[in-house]
């Protein structure tokens, strides 16, 4: 039976850091950015993959005004979320940029529901942590996205992951060719990290959801705004590396209002009216992307996630709540899904 990845994540990151201090590590690099190329995974890279069937909740929720946690609660038993009793939990929303009228950031109402959820699951300490990808002005993002007000109202602690103290963490599964990352201490020492993405199209990788959201755990003080090294080493590979390193306990996706077109910044709002919840992030993302009517085979990181993170084949995903068919809509696709030659620009200007 699959052992839940969050259980030993802190031990893993700490031990990995210690191992690096003692002697370093060697990983296999695969910096290919070509969606058609999927190099074979090694035994070590495959070891962490979720075994058996995955369950994803697709929970209808028409508005941010609803009691979101109340909507989620009936599905918790079936989703087998981890027991967080006594744990320190970091909730990681997406706050990459803010522009008026654009659904770029995770809505504060969804973050609030996640706070209620992890509190219900027994969390001792709840931290909201994010390292915005493009803007250094975190206060501006907190104020205008409404996340700052929500954090203050609930008396929570916000950690700017871009500025946190750092720990050197080896990258043993190494899909990207980056042998180690410097990660924020708040992430390394948390007992569990929960991904709270906004469902959006993404002009470099097709779609962004709970796995791509882990880019915000990479600290700007070391890697910049944007974290350009992740683009240079291939966004798809870095997504997989970061999921393997951070080992998110589960994901709650804000798909009440999503983004279509030129996401993740410049697209337009799309009423989608649901939340997605599950412990297998590959299954969660694959299921959400199916509701966008975007073919998974066009997204190399999703195919890779199906090899080394979890299930993307619908035959191995039990969907509870609503169904993919009931929620599916045609999303306006990002330009790179139809004009693949534009991907060649990604190493120079991806952000």
């Amino acid at each position: 039976m699959h052992k839940h990845p969050n259980i030993h994540r802190r031990q893993f990151l700490k031990a990995a850091a210690a191992a690096l201090t003692l002697g370093g590590c060697v990983g296999q690099a695969n910096s290919s950015n070509d969606p058609a190329v999927l190099a074979p995974a090694t035994e070590a890279q495959l070891a962490w993959r979720k075994k058996g069937q995955s369950t994803v909740g697709l929970i209808k929720c028409e508005s941010y005004e609803e009691n979101i946690f109340k909507q989620i609660k009936p599905y918790l038993a079936a989703l087998a979320l981890p027991n967080l009793t006594g744990k320190t939990v970091v909730l990681k929303p997406n706050m990459v940029e803010w522009h008026p009228g654009k659904p770029i950031t995770t809505n504060p109402a969804v973050i609030k529901a996640a706070v209620e959820l992890v509190d219900y699951l027994g969390a001792k300490e709840i931290i909201i942590g994010e390292g915005p990808g493009h803007m250094r002005d975190t206060e501006f993002l907190l104020n205008n996205s409404g996340i700052g007000k929500m954090v203050n109202t609930l008396g929570l602690r916000f950690v700017d992951l871009n500025l946190d103290d750092l720990e050197k963490v080896p990258n043993p599964d190494n899909f990207s060719g980056i042998n180690y990352f410097y990660l924020p201490k708040t992430i390394v020492h948390a007992d569990a990290v929960v991904s709270l993405p906004k469902l959006k199209t993404h002009h470099w990788v097709g779609a962004t959801c709970s796995m791509k959201n882990m880019f915000g755990t990479v600290p700007g003080r070391r890697y910049g705004w944007p974290k350009n090294i992740l683009h240079n080493h291939g966004i798809p590979n870095c997504i997989i590396d970061l999921v393997h390193l951070v080992k998110p306990a589960f994901a709650l996706v804000d798909a009440i209002v999503a983004m279509e077109g030129d996401g993740p910044i410049n697209g337009t709002a799309k009423d989608t009216g649901y939340l997605a919840l599950g412990t297998d992030l590959a299954a969660v993302d694959a299921t959400c992307i199916r509701t966008m009517n975007i073919p998974l085979e066009q997204l190399s990181y999703i195919r890779r996630a199906g090899q080394v993170i979890g299930n993307i084949d619908p035959a191995h995903i039990t969907v509870i709540g609503s169904s993919v068919t009931a929620l599916a809509q045609d999303f306006i696709k990002p330009i790179t899904l139809t004009r693949h030659e534009l991907l060649a620009e990604s190493t120079k200007s991806a952000s």
Binding site: E139, L163, H203, R222, G224, I335
Partner: protein
Amino acid sequence: MTATNDDSHTIQNDAIEKSLHRAVAYIRNQQTDGWWPYNHGLGPSTEATAWCALAIMVAADKSIATFADTVSFLLKTQNKDGGWSTSPGIKISEWSSSPALLALRLLPDKSDNRSGEIARAIDQAFSFLFEMRTDYWRPIGRLLVFLSKGAEGLNYGRGWPWTHDTAHWVEPTSYALLALKLPHLPDKVSLREAAKHANLYFHEHACRTGEGAPPCGWNHGSNYCLEVFLPPYTVTTAEALVALQDDARNDTVAGGIKHLLQANDDSNSALALAWSIIALDAYGSSDCRKKLMRLVEQQKADGSFGPNNLVTATAVIALSAGQGRNLLKFGQAVN
């Protein structure tokens, strides 16, 4: 009785003075052995250290001991390649080298008996910055460009990356240019060329609303992406403007200033207001008063402008500019 403009200005000047005093006191309390963290309770940050010390200096709250400790910290934490890392233990030089170099150029007191050591550290840092610049051409490619197009072919926009071997971006380019240009550009051809190419980078990467539209500021450096024109941000626009003071006649500068003047200050943060004030004051704009008062309003009860010391330091530099001492205004070296 109606207050006159003079009365109003006096009240505002008092508010700025008090705000400045409280902010400086806050920053001074955050210091440990000459260094500062980004946020209270964290370890040393090279960038926060540089800007906090500079902020105290420009606020004319000089304490030789404070700066001697900070200079010692910077000398001690300089990497062998001449650069600095975000915090001392990491030892991989990157963009933090620029604020560190700027501080090392501006902070030391004339009576500091380490002037030889400091001068060597500054020279090494210049070399590091010069080598760190982004270039898409490998040496052989540069040679081919030179042979086919002449020296002018190599005269293209070239700024600084955040980390080695990545693309150039607006903020690290701004920081590097400030470190090169303040208090003055070194009399060295290579560095002057580097500054010229970085100025060009800014002009080439200004945001526009469409093809042929006038420039309107800067974002993080992605002004045009996948056939879409992307909008500017306030902080990056102000930072770019401050770095471009010696090239002010370009229309990208006018566009950036217009963006700052039209910004909605009600939704702007302390950091955005502070950088806007610094930039507008550097260009002689008399329109900073409203932004200054808005900045003062954002001060917290503890004297800070938020949890990040870098933000409070930038606010101090802006408030000092409001009193006529702009640390980042070219030709107005403070020390």
